[in-house]
Every structure is written in C-alpha cells, then in structure tokens.
C-alpha cells in the first residue's frame, strides 16, 4: 500500500490559481482512475478534476472554497503497491482542510433541483445572464418573480458592503478579465473605425426565414446575421483574419493567419464576461449558427464551457443589446486582432436618393490591432461588412 499525492493539473492556457468549489468524493471512498474527484473554479469556468489513480481517498488537503495553484497536492490517495510507488511525502505545509463538506445549501424554502420562477422572471434573468439559483424568490412557495430579478439586477449595481468587513478577494474570473484588459491596453495599439448599418433587410429576412424554420429551431437573432457577415467579410479580407505574436521589437514577431473564421461573441455572466468562440463560422448557415450560439450561451451561463470553446478566435463581436449604448468602442481581447461593437437598434433618419426615410439603424464600431490592421484595411472591411448586412444574400442553412 502506497500513499500518492493528487495534484491540480494545468487546465487552461493561462492558469494561475483555482478555487476548489466542491469535493465529489469523501475520505474513505474508493476511487477509480479517471473518475471525477473534485470541482474547481478556474478563471473561466467550472472544471472537474479526475482522479489520476485508483485507490482510496485517504486525506483531503485543500477544502471547499480554498485556493490551490497548479501542481499543488490537494489530496492523498492510498493505492495498491506498484513498482514505482512513491514513499509518502512529508505532510505539505498547506493548512489541513476541515472535513470535506458539500457547499452550503440554497435557502431552505427551495427544494433541491428545480427553481420555481415565473416565465417573465426567467426571461429577464436569461437576458441579464443571471443565475436564478442565486436569487431569492418572494413569490408563493419561494417562486422567483419579476420584482426579485429586477432587484437582483439593481442590487448588483448598488449593493452596500457591510460596514466592518473588508472587500473579498478577487474572484478568478474577475481577475482574468482585469489581466486581459490591462494587457490589451498596455500592449495592443488600437484604433477604431465606425459605420452605421441599416437593419431593414435583415429584419425583413429574419421574419421570412422564421416561417421556414422547423418549430423547434431557435429563433434567428441579429447576432447570427452578424456572425455570418463577419465570416464572409473576413474571408474576403484574409489580412484581417490573423493574430500578432511575439515581441514587436524581437525577431520572433509574426502575423499568424487563422485557419478559418473563428469568431467570439461576448456574453455577460454572473461574475463578469465570457467570450465563447464559434470555430469555422464560414461552414454554417444561419439556422445552425443560431443553434450553436444558443448552446454556447446556455453552457456559458452554467459555467460549462470547455477550454477549446473559449480560445482560438481572431475576431469578437460585442452586442450590448437593446439597452446598450448608441455606440461604443470595445477593447481588443488578446490575442485577437479585432472586435466589433454593435450599438443598439434604433429608429434613425436616413437621407437617401434625395428623400428622407426612417429606418432601423445601429452604429458599428470596429476596434483593430494596429500591428495587424491599418486604416485602409479596417475601412474596407467595415464597409464590406455593412454591405453584406444590408444585402439579401444569406446562407440560411
């Protein structure tokens, strides 16, 4: 019988510390190799860590809600003797965990599993990326109602900290965002170009296409059209579809072209932002994009996106929706080269053909990495993008 340490493996490309959220096995439990052992929260999502060996869980070293770094041992496992079994290491200098316990239960009023909520409360929560499980329900039998969700949205903005307590440590996701944006600001020279887009054709087609879709298909949104249009524009402007790597002053600086249109789209989640990436957008029709996008959003909200779904983009789209600003400039999300900020749809007056028309418009702001993209390319790309968005030529799929 040998005692083996189980360590935190490296999970993401950029990974520092993780927070243990819960243990899936208790001390004394038998483990099979590859069986999920504990759950940790990385900068981007919740990840399950499997048992590397088979044996019996002997001791837990890092408990729920505690941090651990890559390589840190988090548990001792007793294994059957193997030729290369290590002798037990001396007790590590980490504090001993309390007896493993499950995370605190939600409020007693709610039965485990399904959250009671009214339809409109659910809808508003989804729109704002809020998890219903985190909202107290004031309705009958603990039902989460519209007012509760509204309160949660407002409360997130105006929550007053308790007088004596110090602010908590930065959550991993918040830290990751802060680091990425600082990096963006410091190392990526960015500039913006702007154009307005007229949504009339897209809105008409959206309604028309809706009639042809199967009933269980998700509804097409502007974002699906944006994805397809960006993919096509990138295809026509391959110089836009690349990333800068290396030191700008060094010999290893390169502009690396992408293998296809891998486009991220920004979604708001409970603790911040996520940018799921759809790979090879050029391969999909609008209906398929709607489906894929919706799946990504759902898993993103639940923290279940896989690592590869959060990486690999050269271009992102940020659409703040109906409550967003008229226009805004988004910051590049390294290592991408461009990000398209979509202002809110609103009625605007357009002078065309000597006449005045009221149309549904948005302002598009394209931010680009000046190491990869210059003004002419950015302008051409944006002009072409708007052309595509105002055309009737779409691949429904």
């Amino acid at each position: 019988m040998a005692r083996v340490a189980l360590e935190i493996p490296k999970i993401g490309l950029v990974m520092d510390a993780v927070r243990v959220t819960r243990w899936l096995k208790g001390v004394g439990d038998l483990l099979k190799a590859g069986e999920p052992l504990l759950e940790v929260e990385t900068e981007k999502s919740l990840v399950e860590i499997d048992a590397a060996v088979a044996g019996r869980l002997a001791e837990i070293l890092v408990g729920a809600d505690q941090e651990a770094r890559v390589g840190d041992p988090v548990a001792w496992v007793d294994v059957a003797d193997a030729p290369d079994a290590q002798p037990p290491a001396p007790a590590p200098p980490l504090q001993r965990a309390a007896a493993p316990e499950l995370p605190a239960r939600p409020p007693a009023a709610r039965a485990p599993g399904r959250v009671r909520s009214s339809p409109v409360a659910r809808r508003l929560a989804t729109e704002h990326g809020l998890d219903l499980r985190g909202i107290d329900g004031s309705g009958p039998r603990g039902r989460v109602q519209l007012a509760d969700v509204k309160r949660a949205i407002d409360g997130a903005a105006t929550a007053a900290p308790p007088a004596a307590a110090a602010p908590p440590a930065l959550a991993p996701m918040r830290r990751a965002l802060a680091r990425a944006m600082s990096l963006s600001n410091a190392t990526v020279p960015q500039f913006t170009v702007e154009r307005a887009v007229d949504w009339t054709v897209v809105e008409t087609l959206r309604t028309q296409f809706a009639a042809t879709l199967a009933p269980e298909s998700p509804r097409l949104s502007i974002n699906d059209f944006l994805l397809q249009a960006v993919a096509r524009a990138l295809d026509e402007h391959p110089a836009m579809n690349a990333t800068f790597t290396g030191d700008v002053n060094g010999p290893d600086a390169r502009v690396v072209p992408a293998s296809g249109a891998h486009i991220g789209f920004v979604i708001a989640v409970a603790n911040g932002l996520l940018v799921p990436v759809l790979h090879h957008v050029e391969r999909f029709g609008l209906a398929e994009l709607a489906r894929l996008r919706r799946e990504c959003v759902e898993r993103g909200l639940q923290g279940r996106l896989r690592r590869e779904e959060l990486e690999g983009a050269t271009f992102s789209i940020s659409n703040l929706g109906a409550r967003g600003p008229d226009r805004f400039a988004a910051m590049i999300n390294p290592p991408e080269s461009a990000i398209l900020a979509v202002g809110r749809q609103r009625d605007g007056v357009v002078a065309r053909d000597g006449g005045v028309h009221v149309r549904r418009l948005s302002d598009l702001t394209l931010t680009v990495d000046h190491r990869v993209v210059d003004g002419r390319l950015a302008s051409d790309f944006l002009a072409r993008l708007v052309e595509i968005l105002e055309s009737r030529d779409w691949h429904l799929g």
């Binding site: 009023a109 339809p119 409109v120 409360a121 809808r123 309705g139 009958p140 039998r141 603990g142 109602q145």
Partner: protein, 329 residues
C-alpha cells in the same frame, strides 16, 4: 346631461329606425314599451308595422326574425331574459349562426337579438343567469356585452349596422345607470376592447356590469398602492386579444372577472389564450373571478353571498401581488 341606460338605448333604437327603413323591432310587449321600457313610445313614433308585439313564442319569433333577415329586413328582436334564450337556441344556433356558411355565402343574417342578463335582487334562478359563454362557442354569431349607457348606445348601433347575427346582452343592474352621451362620438367597432383605466401592476379584464365593479376595485386598490389596468372587453365574440396582449405585456399579471359561473365561463377561454400566447410575459398564474357553481338563489343574503363583488376582486389582486406568505393552497 345624463340619461339612464334605458333612455339611451331607446334613443339608439329610435335613431336607427329613422335612419334605415329596413330596421324593425319585435318581441314580447315591445310595442307596449317592453318589459323594461326600452322600446316605449317607439311604436307610436314609427308605426305599428315597424315596432311589433309578438306572442310568447321565443322559438317562432327568433325564426321569424331570422327568416326576415334573410329577405331584406334588419330585425332587432328582444328576448326578455337571456334565461329564455334557451327557447331560441335551435334557431339561433342551428339556423341564424349557420345560414351564411351553409349557403356557401349566398345569404346573410343581419339580425340583432337584444336580451338582458344578470342578477338583480330576488329574480332567482330562472331570471338571473349570465349565459354568454354558451354563445361564444358558436361560429357565426357575434356576442356583445356593453358596460355602460354610452357604450351601449354606440355598440347597439354598430351591431345593427354590422350585417351578421349579433347577440346584444344588456345587464339588469345597469338599466338605471346614468351617463352623459358625447354627441357625434365615433361608434365603437365590434370586436375592439377598450382600456377603461390605465395601470401598471395587473390587467383586470371584465365586461358588462362587472366593469363597474372592476373600476371600483381598481380605485380601492389604488389607495393601497396597487395600480390596476381595467379592460372593458365590450365584445365577447370575437375576442380582442390584441388589446389584452398589449396590456399583459406591460403588467405581467392578468385577472378576469365576470358575473357568470366560473366553470366553463368566458374567463376560461381568455385565461387559456393568455397562457398560450403570453406565457413568457406572466409573472403569476392567470386568475378568474366568477360566480361559484350554484344557481342564483332567491333570498337577498344568499344572492349576495354568491355574486362576485369588489372584495373578491381586491382579494384576488392582493394574492397575485402578495408575498410567499399567502400560497393559495
């Protein structure tokens, strides 16, 4: 200057008789003024050929009116109590409602059947019913239920001019209600509801005499800080789902109130449609208020105990808005 419901109805009939020679009134005691005096004086003014008494033969006079409607007249038939419409049903349902369709569009039935419904102190079970739910179930009919004198004026004229068979259901308790008419106001169209009171917290949908009750309840609830939007349906068939939907999208809560028996009432159809079409707008289940499942009793305290009133509406709205402390079960 204010007039009663009865006076205003009379005026509407008088004007329509003068306007269109094909309009004829008939019914039991109609030439003598009618059981509630609505047609008083009209026979004298327009002649006994245009305003006629009939024997107590609901089946025959409904058939008579329908046959005449097929042949160029615009009869306005009075059925004294909606409770007696049971005797008219074969004609109304099997003939009047279906003639246009069965004839493949060759004929039409421009008929208005005026009747009245509701409980009013001691009329008891066979003279107090609200039976409108039976009729919204019949394709080919139109069902209108005005909530006040001014509403009745415009809706009756619209009904007479419509060209399809209309059941125009007045309410006993509204007959003495007074209101001033706005001269030359546009006629309310058949099939369009109106927002009687704007509000933000709950959509209270009602018709006929219950609109008055709903407005009273809304006033009391406003003093308690609840903002109630009251919708007067005006027409029950066809139902104006557009107005209802616009309201529920704003308030996210719906209550339907009618005097008729709750089970299988008009409220049930509306609630089903709201649940179907506006599911994602709802912050609470759709509630209905109506009469419990019993005939209307004779003794006043029994009748009062049964009929849904302002308190019932208030209670329902408070429950809808209330906290988890008040689960219904």
């Amino acid at each position: 200057m204010e007039h009663t419901f009865i006076e205003i109805l009379r005026r509407a009939l008088d004007e329509e008789l003068a306007r269109d020679a094909s309009v004829h009134l008939l019914g039991e005691d109609v030439a003598a003024g009618g059981a509630f005096g609505v047609t008083r004086g009209l026979a004298q003014k327009h002649g006994d050929k245009r305003v006629r008494n009939t024997p107590i033969s609901e089946a025959a006079i409904t058939g008579l009116a329908t046959g005449a409607a097929l042949c160029g007249l615009r009869p306005v038939l009075e059925i004294m109590f909606i409770d007696f419409a049971t005797l008219s049903m074969d004609c109304l349902v099997n003939q009047s409602a279906k003639y246009r369709y069965m004839s493949g569009g060759q004929l039409a039935v421009p008929l208005v059947v005026r009747t009245q419904a509701g409980a009013a102190g001691g009329a008891a079970a066979q003279h107090s019913q609200s039976l409108e739910a039976w009729f919204i179930h019949v394709p080919g009919l139109v069902v209108v239920a005005p909530s006040s004198p001014a509403e009745a004026y415009g809706l009756l004229k619209s009904a007479i001019r419509l060209g399809d068979p209309v059941l125009f259901i007045e309410h006993k308790r509204l007959y003495t209600m007074k209101e001033a008419l706005v001269e030359d106001a546009a006629l309310p169209p058949i099939g369009k509801a109106r927002v009687a009171r704007a509000g933000a917290d709950v959509s209270l949908i009602a018709y006929s005499a219950m609109v008055r009750t709903a407005l009273e309840a809304a006033e009391r609830l406003a003093r308690a800080g609840v903002s109630v939007e009251v919708i007067d349906l005006r027409t029950l068939l066809p139902l104006d789902m557009q107005t209802i939907a616009a309201s529920v999208r704003r308030t996210h809560r719906a209550v339907i109130a009618h005097e008729a028996v709750l089970n299988g009432g008009v409220g049930a159809e509306i609630a089903a449609r709201i649940g179907d079409e506006l599911f994602d707008e709802l912050d609470a289940p759709v509630r209905r208020i109506g009469c419990p499942f019993a005939p209307i009793p004779f003794a006043p305290e029994l009748e009062l105990a049964l009929l849904p009133g302002v308190e019932a509406i208030e209670r329902a709205v408070h429950e809808l808005l209330g906290a988890a402390a008040q689960p219904r079960e």
